[in-house]
Amino acid sequence: MLEIERINVSYGDLQVLWDVFFEVKKEEIVALIGPNSAGKTTTLKTVSGLLRPFAGEIRFEGLAMGNMPIHKRVEMGISLVPEGRGLFPGMSTLENLELGAFTAKGRNCKEETLEQVYQLFPILKKRKKQAAGTLSGGEQQMLAIGRGLMSKPKLLLFDEPSWGLSPLLSKVIYEVIGEINHSGVTILLIEQNVRMALQLAKRAYVIENGRIVKHGDGRNMLNDQHIREVYLGTESV
């Protein structure tokens, strides 16, 4: 569904991605893990169109996205739940969700999707008139995810969904991500909490210093020597 072919990305003169490649197949959950500043966020921003690669290509459902603007990619079915949530803090919870359904496809089934989102996160219904900026951290993450769903995406990109959440809340969020995947949405996930990500993901890629250094089956990665040492902090099996 999504093919990343050796993309190179830079901020001005500073190159941060080098020949990054990976693939996400239909209805998979794929995790992209790596240390701070490895280039994970940069990768997702490039997929969603906020950044442009100076070399390499991104294909979605076989179509090269080259210079396609951001909003067109959303229309094609790519939705990003960004790092730090990226909510519209001065607008109400409901308005944030409505904006998630801005595309024609999203608008067509807005009421239905809204009900589904409220079922996943009942608290959002209670908070619907409240300004997004006044929600708690957990509620904000739920809103960000709900908003991401409102466009009826085929591919949902998550940038550290458990960021700033308690272990309990992270678990809730992860269960929801699993549910979303079961409903047929393909998922690409960035995560610092490597254990949780690898338990959920079918396949995973490891990015270090802007390069993909390893990839494989999610569960196998949990037993990988390098991963255990660097990311899980355990040596023995």
Binding site: S48, G49, L50, I70, V74, S79, G86, F88, G90, S151
Partner: protein
């Protein structure tokens, strides 16, 4: 100084203040979406006034009726200016963008100023309708009809804008872009189109203010800078992006200026600027704005 005179000044000040508010909402809208200050905003207002003047003197169209046509003409001009001059800036880095937009704005204001002198001479003009003298008195205070109508129209336009921004999808897209353009783009909002419409809408709002100014007051080619300044003061008073607040702040500035004119005469302009500096210093988020995190 008797109470009667002060009250009368206050009333006239409020009439003008409504127009300050109307001039300010356009500036604020454009700043919010594009994060750049259009220093030629006052010139757009001036053009709107002359369009109305033209409609009146060439086709005898009542100035209040040309409120929307004049807004429409400036909407189109705004679209052209955005496409030709401001849109290419969007791709530049923040600093360069701000610098270049100021240069373009100043350039535009000079061009429009001189164009207006060419087309209409440097004289003051005013649309004088047959009902110019109408009005009524209440408790010995004078309420001229055209100024009252100007205030009512300004209020209606601002309320309509408020409804547009809060009730329609496109209006919500404008507010979302103002709050966080990257997130807005990720919702599928076309930022380029939203910016263009916002800029054009800003020009149309300026035109409506200009139309009202041309009836109740007077227009001349050099009026632009003065109006840009007023609008800027009001935007700072109200807090950026606060539409309802801009109207209230406009009325407030108009009232304060007008009453203070009784005490300091021609220095009343300074009063506005002093308030401007005080607010910037003490309450940078504006009188009605929330402190941003």
């Amino acid at each position: 100084m008797n109470l009667q005179v002060s009250a009368q000044s206050l009333i006239f000040g409020i009439f003008v203040g409504g127009l300050y508010g109307l001039a300010a909402v356009g500036l604020s809208l454009v700043f919010g979406v594009m994060k750049m200050l259009n220093v030629a905003h006052g010139e757009l207002l001036m053009l709107g006034g002359y369009v109305t003047f033209w409609f009146f003197s060439l086709y005898h169209i009542d100035p209040f009726l040309s409120l929307l046509p004049s807004a429409f003409v400036l909407f189109l001009i705004g679209m052209g200016l955005y496409k030709g001059l401001f849109s290419p800036l969007a791709k530049l880095h923040e600093e360069v963008k701000i610098k270049n937009s100021l240069l373009i704005g100043f350039g535009l204001s000079l061009v429009f100023h001189n164009l207006a002198i060419r087309l209409w001479t440097a004289d003051e003009r005013s649309v004088s309708v047959f009902y110019s003298g109408w009005g009524f008195s209440l408790f010995g205070l004078r309420f001229p009809f055209i100024r009252l109508a100007g205030l009512v129209l300004a209020t209606i336009v601002i309320l309509a804008l408020q409804q547009f921004l809060t009730k329609t999808y496109f209006g919500k897209a404008i507010r979302a872009t103002t709050e966080n353009w990257e997130s807005a783009a990720l919702m599928g909002i076309n930022i380029e189109k939203t910016s263009m419409v916002s800029f054009a809408l800003g020009a149309a709002l300026a035109a409506m203010a200009g139309t009202i100014v041309s009836v109740g007051y007077a227009i001349h080619p050099a009026m632009g800078l003065e109006w840009t300044l007023k609008a800027l003061i009001v935007v700072v008073l109200a807090g950026l992006g606060n539409i309802g607040g801009a109207f209230v702040a406009g009325v407030l500035l108009g009232g304060v200026e007008s009453v203070s004119a009784l005490f300091v005469g021609p220095y009343m302009e300074v009063v506005g600027l002093v308030i401007f500096l005080l607010v910037l210093e003490l309450r940078p988020q504006g009188l009605f704005g929330k402190r941003s995190e």
